[in-house]
């Protein structure tokens, strides 16, 4: 039985989903999809009828693009990239194409043009041995491409990579916690199936259809793969609990993405350290108390901004210990106050004399500064700030800032 391939080149749309309707051997190509439709003759009919079926499916999914059905996978791709609309190329058929479509190097293309050759038909008029003598045996592949000869290469690269579980509810449920039991069941199923494929997972997507016809989507990504159902369940509960859906839930979709299972190998004398699962749960519990946006990893900002670091809520602490013991210079630690404390300052004879905040206050016994910073002049967000290091009442040293909004204590030195 002869082979048959379809190729769609389109700027967008669910091409893979469409291809799955017709084939199991699918190759995602740049800007399109190539799939093996051999054997569909029995089910659908002639190549033209197959093309028509695919086109109908494309229209149904709103996919606009070029579709080619041909006996050679690469020929199908070649034509799809060079023509518009639907094209069916019979096994022994040759439709002329501009030489540019063959993807040959620019210099050779220029030579062909100078020789007066414009299309594949012109090229086919040249005896093959003449071409091979000049451009080597590798040029045969180009000729095969035009003739739909040679290897029918299709490299399937679109494999199953996730498991989906859907569950509709008879009655909408207001409280997500009521769904934990059902979710546990679904979670068990998808994780079991995932393990069955020899994978683990580090990403779960939960989509909740809501009673008000909207959707609430949650994506939970871990930095390690796990199939621990209880862990996932607790995490889902915490995440959704931190950010509950705005309306009653009418259906659940759970998508479990495959990942390579975790390889754990520890030495006999390795120090005990917390399991990542429990660390993550702890962090999520803290988040529940202080808010999602207030827990994360401090990252230095490579910009001249009033705050020299930012909090990355999407990251977890790496837990690396300081290992560089060579640097013996003393380090002054600054506790950053978030939010900064509004302060009242007394100035006498141009000197700072007294500082008061809601939590502490006292005479300024010593101070250094002012330090001035300004930046971002190239945006509307231009800022400038003055800072002082003030010793209050001979005890602790604080960082005092003056901004357009007033005086603030932004931190304290330990």
């Amino acid at each position: 039985m002869s082979k048959l391939y379809a190729c769609i080149v389109s700027e967008g749309g669910e091409l893979a989903v469409l291809a799955e309707q017709f084939a199991y051997r699918i190759e995602a190509i740049d800007g399109g999809i190539l799939f093996d439709v051999s054997g569909l003759e029995n089910r659908i009919g002639t190549p033209t009828q197959i093309a028509r079926s695919i086109k109908l499916e494309m229209d149904a999914r709103g996919i606009d693009g070029a579709l080619v059905v041909a006996a050679n996978a690469r020929t199908a791709e070649l034509y799809a990239r060079s023509r518009e609309g639907v094209t069916v190329v019979a096994e022994d058929e040759h439709l002329p194409l501009p030489l540019e479509a063959l993807g040959m190097d620019g210099d050779t293309l220029k030579v062909f043009h100078a020789l007066g050759l414009e299309s594949t038909a012109d090229l086919k008029a040249i005896p093959e041995n003449e071409l091979i003598a000049r451009y080597g045996s590798e040029f045969r592949a180009t000729l095969d491409l035009i003739d739909q000869n040679g290897l029918h290469i299709l490299t399937p690269n679109l494999k199953e990579h996730r498991i989906t579980w859907d569950h509709g509810l008879d009655n909408a449920v207001e409280d997500f916690e009521q769904l934990i039991f059902i979710l546990s069941h679904g979670l068990g199923k998808v994780l079991e199936e995932t393990q069955h494929f020899g994978f683990s997972s580090e990403q779960l997507d939960i989509s909740l259809s809501l009673d008000d016809k909207t959707m609430a989507n949650y994506s939970i990504k871990l930095s390690f793969p796990t199939c621990d159902r209880n862990f996932w369940l607790k995490l889902i509960n915490l995440r959704i609990g931190n950010n509950p859906p705005p309306a009653a839930i009418s259906a659940i979709r759970l998508v479990c993405h495959f990942a390579r299972p975790r390889a754990i190998e520890r030495g006999l004398f390795a120090a005990t350290r917390p399991e990542p699962e429990s660390l993550l749960l702890t962090v999520d519990k803290i988040k529940k108390i202080v808010g999602n946006e207030n827990v994360g990893v401090p990252v230095l900002v490579d910009q001249r901004l009033p705050e020299s670091f930012d909090l990355d809520a999407s990251q977890l602490p790496l837990g690396r210990e300081r290992t560089d013991e060579r640097n013996i210079r003393p380090v002054v630690a600054l506790t950053h106050f978030n939010p900064p404390l509004l302060a009242t300052i007394t100035i006498k004879d141009g000197r700072l004399t007294y500082l008061r905040t809601q939590h502490f206050g006292g005479p300024v016994t010593e101070y250094g500064g002012a330090w001035m910073q300004s930046s971002q002049w190239w945006t509307r967000g231009f800022w400038q700030q003055m800072e002082w290091d003030v010793e209050v009442d001979g005890k602790r040293i604080y960082r005092l800032a003056r901004t357009a909004d007033g005086w603030f204590v932004t931190g304290g030195y330990d």
Binding site: P127, G369, W377
Partner: protein
Amino acid sequence: MFYEIHTRSAFSFLASGSMPETIIERASELGMPGIALLDRDTVSGAVRFHCEAKDAGLKAMIGAEITMDDGSVLPLLPIDLAGYQNLCKMITNIKLNHPKGEHFATRKDIEEHSDGLICLTGGADGLMHRSIRSGNGQRDLAWLNYVFEKRLYVELQRHYLRSEEDVNQQLVGLAHKLHLPVFASNGAYYAHKDDRELFDVFTCIKNHCTIYEAGKILSQNAERHLKSAKQMMRLFEEFPEAVARTEEIAARIEFSMDDVGYTFPDFPVPPGETMDSLLRTLADKGARNRYGTITPQVRTKLDHELNLIAKLKLAGYFLLVWDISDFCRSRRILSQGRGSAANSVVCYSLGITAVDPIAGELLFERFLSEERGEFPDIDIDLPSGDDRELVIQHVYEKYGRRGAAMTANVITYRGRSAVREVGKVFGFPEEQIGHLSKSISHYGVMEFGEMVERFKESGFDLKEDFRTRKFVELYTRILDFPRHLGQHSGGMVISLGRLDGVVPIEPASMEGRSIIQWDKDDCERLGIVKVDLLGLGMMAVLRDSLKLIKDHRDETVDLAKIPIDDKGVYETVQKGDTIGMFQIESRAQINFLPRSRPETFYDLVVQVAIIRPGPIVGKMLSAYIRRRQGQEEVDHIHPWLESTLKRTLGVPLFQEQLLRMSMIMAGFSGGQAEELRRAMGFKRADKRLAKIEQNLRDGMTRNNIDEETQDRIVHNITAFANYGFPESHAASFALLTYASAYLKVYYLAEFTTALLNNYPLGFYVPATLIKDAQRHGLRFRHVDVNRSDYLFKIEEAPGPGSEGVVRIGLKYVKGLREDTAQAIAAERGAYSPETGTERPYTSVEDLVRRVPLINKKEIRALSLAGALNFDNAVHRREALWQSELAARPNGELFQPETPPAAHAFLQKMTEWQAMEADLQAMSITIGKHPMAFLRNDLKNNGVISAIETHGLPKREIVTVAGAVIVRQRPGTANSVVFITMEDETGHSNFIVMPDIFERFRRVITHHSYLLIKGISEEGNLIKALYFEPITAFMAEIGSHDFH
């Protein structure tokens, strides 16, 4: 009292946000009594800094920051001349001993050159800050103290930065420990607080990043600006002595740029001679050669000049220039002095210049005067290329690598480079930057309003978009800032002893060249003598033409002896048939020549000078034409001026006339007159000019000149500020103009061949030059590996009296390397036992076998150009197909035994296709003009040819099509654009008003072939109304494809 002792200017290149002039201006505003400039490894900005400070009454101190081997800098400030010389020598050493851009000084360099220099410990990038951070502060400060003894000052800088204070505390401690004086500085990188933005932009340019990516490499605040004494006192309130110490440092510095120790070299003379006597002997001998006998008039002039030269001690300079001219003569290199030197009989006698100043009634005072007290300026034109290089290397050899160098050319941020670099900093996509910079470069710098429009075309709303607005602001501010030091086109500076003790020398980008760190204006300001050895393409054309005439016709043409009043030459020039002729081939000249109708050599002198922005804007041009055509009476302003102005019909055109006018009417001396001219030349003459104008009026009043005449004279003289072309210079150029015209008229083949071989030069591309020559009857032969040499050459043509046929050279085949082309010609010309003469190539395989250097791309290029047709044995496509086979790498075993048969599948190129292939492969064609192919279609649709545009009645609406060869928007033309198109019949000229240009901007600037509809005006000019690309028009009328 506070002196800022540590400042950087824009001449530190990408490390400062202010020009030296702005720094001085600000220092003056702040009431600073003096200021020091320490640019990074350079004194490039020193002269303008010094001069500006002098004008402002400030003490300017000049030093430099020296880059050390660890990347830190060491600021050094000369106390005296010896210190300055040490600084210059050290910079020269580190620059010449390292690859460009990778220089640094070692501690040994510092130790060897420390005499006479004050050392400052510097700021955050200074050596001491780095040492302290690495824990070596005390050791390194002790080393500096040892090297500089009592000339070391510990520098404290405060920019309100927390990180700086820690080092400052340690510096104070170390200074106390080693008993060293401490001083305060702001380490200023810019004059005003606002300049920080420009400084940040430069930081991004230096680090090749956008302002958004730059992050912490940008400055933390805007505190590195100049600060007043009060601000500094407040900043260093606990160290008042550190602020006061700046006065002590300033007081120690005696060195001033007024005395950089420059001495012009003595010229070696034979025993018993002095430089003056040798010059007199040579001048007398030369005068006898030039004039036959020395008449009393010549004697008087010679004596006057020689006496003045002796009085001003300039004999050495004249002898040096004579030596260069003599070297040229000995090597048969064409050379000609130009500029004001042509006013000198001595220069003429010495063979430096070619114009007789006595016959030309030229004014010596324009060249040299006692009052000016400065060196004269002698420019020598030499043929571009090897000949000029030979002369330059001769000067290097004679005076040594450290005794002579080229002057620098300060390359500044101009429209295109400014848009590109600032655009990158603001993260604009490459495509938008390219589009914008192209628009700007095409027609000069834009006004803000125009820029708003241009941005709108590119999709930016300048009024709404903050980023774009900021970009425009910074783009405008960066204009004219120095970008890097380039090489002046020909100015050489020579010094007695070591030039590197006067100014640092650094390597130029060009192999074998070195440059000083000052440009020609700097040299002039400091009275440093410069000899300009300028490359002139036309000199090379003349040289090559003469050789070709000798080779081809066995005639010797001596340019000094060609008839200067040849009728045929003037008739050609009067028609404006001047493409290829020196200085009179521009669109404006061609348009003007039929009206001015030059008849004598002096008319050509006027012609060269008059088509300049000044006379056009000053309406001198129209007055001259009216008088020339007899439409207006000649008016000499005052009877006393008749002799001065009669030759230019009462219209003052030349600087010499200005000088004479002031001398005659106001009794000015030669020197005073020259001072007047120079005052007008300065952009900011202001007070100086007002004073001289008053002197002029006073002088005229003394001579009883009435007020109205005074006003007219002052008005005429003031207008000179904008143009003023020296008559002597115009005369020197006119000689070349005449010579080129003479050669074009009588030796077209040789002249055209020489022109094409010396391209690029002049206004027109080779394709236009070839078409013009063809219209004059010259024939060309196609490029051919069996006939062509690297350069164009002349071949014998059949038939008596034929002047020969020009064979296209391999030089024009795109992608063919010169080495390969030379190898092709050499191998073909190699001896063959069979024939004893040339051994032509028989096939592509033969060529590939005999010229192993040739590569695949070159074989393709040759066959595409039609150079491998082997006497029409194969057509161009066949040759290309064979080339594809020959270019395959294979060994001897696999060589085909017989040449392949013709291939039926390859169609011979049509004439149109061959023309396209020519243009693609060589950018020239000797076949039909592209427009000739379309002529029938065009004619049928009412489109006329270029020749039909000549002599059209006024106000006739016509449509013309052609290839655009000139698009010009002269600064003098109020945004009017001039376009010249070419077709097979000649050229058509168009004037495009600003509104029409704006409407069709894209079509005009993006298409090479246009169809223009317009209305005929005077002088064969068409006022354009509508533009369309020819491609669109041909598609409309269903004609064949036009690419």
